[in-house]
């Protein structure tokens, strides 16, 4: 008996009862698709959190002033402190240190006025440190900083508020009644937590100190480490330098504090980790449930056909021929259902689910497909092989 004959029996077996075959396929499809989609949603959520962490910079330290303990003096953070932190000999792990002064300011263009929550004065290195890029126009230059030019780069929210139509680049705005020229618009960053990261404007430090804040203490110094791995080295070096400059004795509380973006985000990361674990366990359960569904339908299918197996044996079918037929039927249904499930998973992943863009994990596709197909194969052929081992009369009597 040739393979093509067995194949023909299998094809006939699959097509003879279309509803049963469709249900089997559907069961496998749902199992595979749900696992792929659930894992993709979990992965999408964790990736979006990782991206927001990366957007804020994992190799960034923020030094801000802090009121020291009673009795000891509080020294302001100065531009000189920032220069000292950027010293490549004293602080080799520090790539750059940008002095930042921050204020809120009211900006006006024509009849429109808008209160900017963060009006920053800093140096051009700040943009690189905070992963800020320009969407229109240009960033201000080191020359603008040195000359104290009244130029400003505005955030996306500010741009849409002040310039609902037309490009802001080259336009003049009044910031607390002082004219600034808009040289660029920052690319949107979205909100980080409660704050709108786009509700900002950045101008040269010298200009802002001269025109708006005066030459007092800096709001912060933003330090960029050479890489994410050297962040703790950088933190130690910054501490050493500032302790020396601010004469902080051993055991005394410093008049500044250092925070890494990572520390700020640890809590949020922990939350999304929990979320990812939750989704992964739901996916595992759905794989299990999908597997049980496949098991069920395959067992029903085969049990229903034990009589048929008896008939085939009664007219002289060898065990191998029966086994081959059922194995092939199960293979066809499992592979077809699995392939459909993968297709549905991929199509479903193109849609945003509950505000999350799913990102398919290739290994999950493989896992879901393999598990469902193997379960389908096993439960499609194992009961058949047991039935094929029965004496024909036992199989024929089976109800």
């Amino acid at each position: 008996m040739r393979f093509t004959e067995v194949l023909a029996f299998a094809v006939r077996g699959v097509t003879a009862n279309k509803l049963r075959s469709a249900l089997t396929t559907l069961g496998i499809m749902i199992g595979v698709a749900s696992v792929i989609l659930l894992i993709a949603v979990g992965n999408g959520a964790s990736q979006s959190v990782q991206q927001s962490i990366a957007g804020l910079g994992t190799n960034v330290l923020t030094v801000s002033p802090q009121r020291a303990q009673a009795g000891s003096s509080t020294k302001p953070l100065t531009t000189a402190d920032a220069k000292a932190l950027a010293d490549p000999v004293e602080a080799p792990a520090v790539k750059s240190a940008s002095p930042v002064t921050s204020t809120s300011a009211t900006a006006a263009h024509g009849s429109v006025s808008y209160s900017i929550s963060q009006f920053l004065g800093t140096d051009p290195a700040y943009f690189g440190t905070t992963n800020s890029s320009v969407a229109q126009g240009a960033l201000f230059s080191a020359d603008d900083l040195a000359q104290g030019r009244k130029v400003v780069v505005i955030g996306a929210t500010v741009a849409t508020q002040l310039f609902p139509t037309g490009s802001p680049v080259g336009e003049s705005i009044l910031v607390n009644n002082i004219p600034f020229t808009v040289v660029g618009v920052l690319a949107t960053k979205g909100s980080s937590g409660l704050q709108d990261a786009d509700d900002t404007a950045v101008a040269p430090l010298s200009t802002v100190q001269n025109a708006l804040t005066g030459y007092g203490s800096l709001s912060q110094i933003v330090v960029q480490a050479t890489s994410a791995d050297t962040i703790s080295d950088a933190q130690a070096q910054v501490t050493t330098i500032l302790d020396g400059r601010h004469k902080v004795g051993f055991g005394q509380q410093a008049d500044y504090r250092i925070l890494s973006q990572e520390q700020l985000l640890t809590a949020r990361t922990a939350t999304t980790d929990t979320f990812t674990v939750l989704l992964a366990s739901v996916a595992a359960i759905s794989l299990l449930v999908g597997g049980i569904g496949v098991t069920n339908i395959m067992l029903v299918t085969v049990t229903e056909r034990i009589r048929e197996i008896g008939i085939r044996k009664a007219v002289g079918a060898r065990r191998g021929a029966i086994l081959g037929q059922f194995l092939l039927e199960a293979t066809m249904l499992s592979l077809f259902g699995g392939a459909l499930g993968v297709a549905v998973g991929f199509i479903g992943a193109r849609f945003t689910i509950a505000g999350i863009t799913p990102v398919i994990v290739p290994s999950s596709v493989l896992l879901a497909f393999a598990v469902s197909a193997l379960i389908g194969l096993f439960f499609g052929s194992y009961p058949a092989s047991r039935a094929a081992r029965l004496r024909p009369i036992e199989a024929l009597r089976h109800e």
Partner: protein, 228 residues
């Protein structure tokens, strides 16, 4: 002298064990000569179906010997029993046992597929068998589109398509009306006239009247043998 086509010696079949054991056959002896037409009668539970299933190699005895053409089946393995069912024996069931959702032609072809007959030859032989039972025009109908009598004739076509030496029929007319019963018995008579050994089980005397010989099974043994 050639060996009888069927020879059964001290055949026993027990279902279950211990106190709940059921002795379906208790040392049954039977010989069927080549070309004979035998009817087996007996009350339900007498063991006649068990006997026919063993004769059809669908079941194996607990003890005793069953010789086909003088060859003892006791030493046969699963594959050889399958070969016997395929080549030597045609079996007709009371409940037809056709494969559902499969055409009459495909059902009749089935034993030939497992015998390894090529497609064209298979088709021709299956159609010939269907013609013999008068159903050539129903070849592409499915079992559920056929009447009971027609289904049984398809089943007979399937039993005879491999040109077996022995045709066994377990109450072939049990589920049929008088008219269909006559059709079916006519075909069996024809097969016997063609030289095949036919053994059938029946409850009905007019069916048994078709046979050359009638034996009665009582409590797992042959009670009487009457040459017609």
């Amino acid at each position: 002298m050639t060996a009888p086509v069927i020879e059964v010696r001290d055949l026993r079949k027990t279902y279950g064990t211990g106190d709940t054991a059921v002795h379906a056959l208790r040392g049954l002896d039977l010989t069927v000569a080549r070309g004979e037409y035998l009817a087996i009668m007996g009350a339900s539970g007498s063991g006649k179906s068990t006997l026919l299933n063993i004769l059809g190699c669908l079941d194996v005895p607990t003890s005793g010997n069953y010789l086909i053409d003088g060859i003892d089946t006791a030493e046969f393995g699963e594959a050889q029993l399958g070969l016997m069912r395929n080549r030597k024996i045609g079996f007709v069931f009371q409940s037809f046992n056709l494969i559902p959702r499969t055409s009459a032609l495909a059902n009749v072809e089935l034993p030939l597929v497992y015998a390894g007959v090529r497609r064209a030859a298979r088709r021709a032989r299956a159609l010939a068998a269907l013609r013999l039972v008068g159903l050539a025009d129903r070849a592409h109908h499915r079992p559920n589109e056929l009447s009971g009598g027609q289904q049984q004739r398809v089943a007979i076509a399937r039993a005879l398509v491999t040109a077996p030496a022995i045709v066994l029929a377990d109450e072939p007319t049990g589920n049929l009306d008088t008219r269909s019963s006559q059709d079916v018995m006519g075909i069996l008579d024809q097969l016997n006239a063609g030289g095949r050994t036919v053994v059938l089980i029946t409850h009905e005397d007019d069916v048994a009247a078709h046979a050359d010989r009638v034996v009665r099974v009582v409590d797992g043994r042959i009670a009487q043998g009457v040459r017609a």
